[in-house]
Symmetry: C2
Subunit: 408 residues, 2 copies
């Protein structure tokens, strides 16, 4: 963890323990740092699993193997290595992952494919097998740790540990989700991959858990961007132990399914926002709302064009109500837009409406909004009913310092 | 012009006068600056015109009108306003452009559609008609000026004036191209639109001039990026007066046509590189070569994904041979790629081959290359014969300072 905490950091919340889930940490020594760097989470028998992964075609072995095994639906353990992403390391990297899977499976007496592995850190260096073996051995027998300790241990360049929780009522049973995440660039493959893990005591069939996670992912993790870059290792996994004893959720037709899906969505949104709040160099949290688009997907792409625009992000860093840069970003998105129907505002106050600056434009209230930490940008395309919201942070000297001054 | 000249600046070259082309400058006073800000270039009767324009759908009236009139093929004058882009100004902006066209057309006794207008500067403020009228009136009767003076006058945030020249032999006739350009972000709609103008004494039919310019554009201006942002006003126009007296070029079947097209390409490449060399905050000029792609277009898109990646650009700023970030950028491009066939190098030296770091990887020669000002990144995808080259600059604290500290 870095010394300088993000000004947008929030305190680590109280996360309830989840029946059937036992986190432990150990020190594999992947880097020369005086901290634990291997997280091991044991899951009770019968745990369902779902996952979403990076679309980067140069993904790591962890992602390839995890994607294949999530489809089988069953999990008994999670291992997260911090300090080495093991990406772009060919067959040697794959061997290291398989060694960890075998070692844990032998300990638990489970199938190898029920052990999920993630790694984050420098790329191009195969995960050292001896350090992995020693770290896993230590973790298997370590005392259980707190969620906060686990959140610390999966982190690399993060400036604060990140967790979220929510509950839902399924039938007469209250089920709980506790979740942790790491990530601060979106994304530096070196040191800032986004890895997130949700744990719930709910009984949920794997296919429905996947449906809930995929839906939530589309509206949360897929709607955040720090620098438009995409890690080779991004992974979010959801584990459901079933220990709460509810009637197993299998589809949206089941009682309580909507509430459970909403709780998953809520936790994913919290986690996604925490990643943005730890965005490299971030000084301001920015929510971009696009309405009036030809479709929701079109609105999403326009939103990302705005959120990824270096000129928009530097304008916000400079507390400048520079709506002209937003016009530019809308226009370059390649989506249906009509200059003469476009309206743009900040903090809920319009600066330009239907293609023209407001006749009585007063910058003062917009400037006041932009001095805050939580910024909103509103864009109405005036074309249809398509809507989307995306989140990002500003682009500051801090981002340059972190990424230009870091040596691989 | 800014006081702090780009470290990548080159001296303004000697540009020959072009028969039938007379540049003049005047002071319209669009901004409160002590310099000329209106450029007027008179073109002899019979001048052909071709043009390429921004694809930003929120383009300015100047672009809409220019695009329509280029199709008619004939030009008598060019007017460039600096300090106000007149973009996003609705019908009022359009009226200002038409006023300039009428004023010049009346002076020359030509058709209104033969007068081309460009504007660059702050957006959302209609070009003031009174200042435009006075500036045009002064320019129409001003003494002819040098190419360097014209290059200065079309500039806004540029830190040095930019020009290029080339010659070709058509039949027994030597024809000459002189050209100027402005631009330093690619692009800030506020103050850094790319505007380029080529002037030649060659006799060229408009359709063939357009073919030469469009081909050159695809391999030059379309291959540069500073910050992935796209102006609402980007424009490159080519004017051919025919005063050299060569047999009019109408297609690639004509003698000398290949040489002429090559000269247009050469000038466009020079101009494009000059814009990158004045990229906001640029300390290093970066050429990215992609080979082994599924197609040339695929290679181009992979190249732009690399050149637009903030993490790659900050790594170069930090003189860090961080090939992992290049892997990430290749993977996120959405183009065919295979991690295990991918090779990456800097300065002609491979760092990774076919999906693995070199066994005998020695960072010293790569580090030495990265200390220079002219950086090359080589990527071989190992899939096919597709090839492309794109150019960009590094991402530095200077970019943040220019764009975050500027107030609209």
């Amino acid at each position: 963890m870095s010394d300088a905490v993000s000004p947008l950091a929030t305190p680590f919340p109280y996360l309830p323990a989840i029946a059937g889930v036992t986190p432990r940490v150990a020190r594999a020594g992947y880097k020369d740092w005086g901290r634990c760097d291997l997280t091991y989470v044991e899951l009770s028998e019968g745990t369902s699993v779902a996952g979403v992964f990076t679309r980067n075609v140069c993904c790591s072995s962890e992602v390839e193997i995890g994607r294949a095994n999530v489809a089988k639906g069953s999990a008994r353990a999670l291992v997260v290595n911090a300090g080495n992403s093991n990406a772009f390391t060919g067959y040697r990297g794959r061997e290291a992952v398989e060694q960890i899977m075998v070692q844990v499976a032998e300990h638990l007496g489970c199938a190898q494919e029920e052990v999920f592995v993630s790694s984050t850190g420098v790329i191009g260096v195969p995960l050292p097998k001896d350090k992995a073996r020693g770290g896993v051995a230590a973790a298997l027998t370590a005392s259980p740790c707190s969620w906060e300790e686990a959140a610390h241990t999966i982190s690399t360049t993060d400036t604060f540990p990140k967790g979220a929780t929510a509950t839902a009522v399924v039938g007469a049973t209250t089920v709980t989700i506790s979740a942790i995440i790491k990530g601060s660039g979106m994304i530096a493959p070196d040191m800032a991959t986004m890895l997130g893990y949700l744990f719930t005591d709910a009984a949920v069939a794997p296919a429905f858990l996947q449906e809930c996670l995929s839906r939530a992912n589309k509206a949360t993790f897929s709607c955040i961007t720090v620098d438009s870059d995409t890690s080779t290792s991004d992974t979010v996994l959801a584990f459901a132990t079933g220990k709460a004893g509810n009637a197993t959720l299998t589809s949206f037709d089941d009682a309580g399914a909507d509430g459970f899906a909403a709780a998953i969505h809520d936790v994913c949104r919290q986690l996604a926002h925490l990643v943005v709040r730890d965005g490299e160099g971030a000084q301001k949290f920015i929510a971009v709302t696009v309405s009036g688009a030809a479709s929701d997907d079109s609105a999403h792409r326009v939103g990302l064009a705005i959120a990824n625009s270096p000129l928009v992000k530097t304008a916000i860093a400079g507390e400048d109500a520079n709506w002209g840069r937003v016009v530019m970003a809308v226009g370059k998105a390649g989506e249906p837009a009509d200059r003469d129907k476009l309206s743009i505002g900040f903090g809920g106050i319009w600066a330009a409406r239907e293609g023209l600056p407001l006749a009585d434009y007063d910058e003062a209230p917009l400037a006041a909004h932009l001095k805050g930490q939580d910024i909103t940008i509103e864009v109405d395309l005036g074309l249809g009913d398509g809507r989307a919201q995306v989140w990002t942070c500003d682009l500051t000297h801090g981002y340059i310092s972190i990424n230009a001054d870091y040596r691989s």
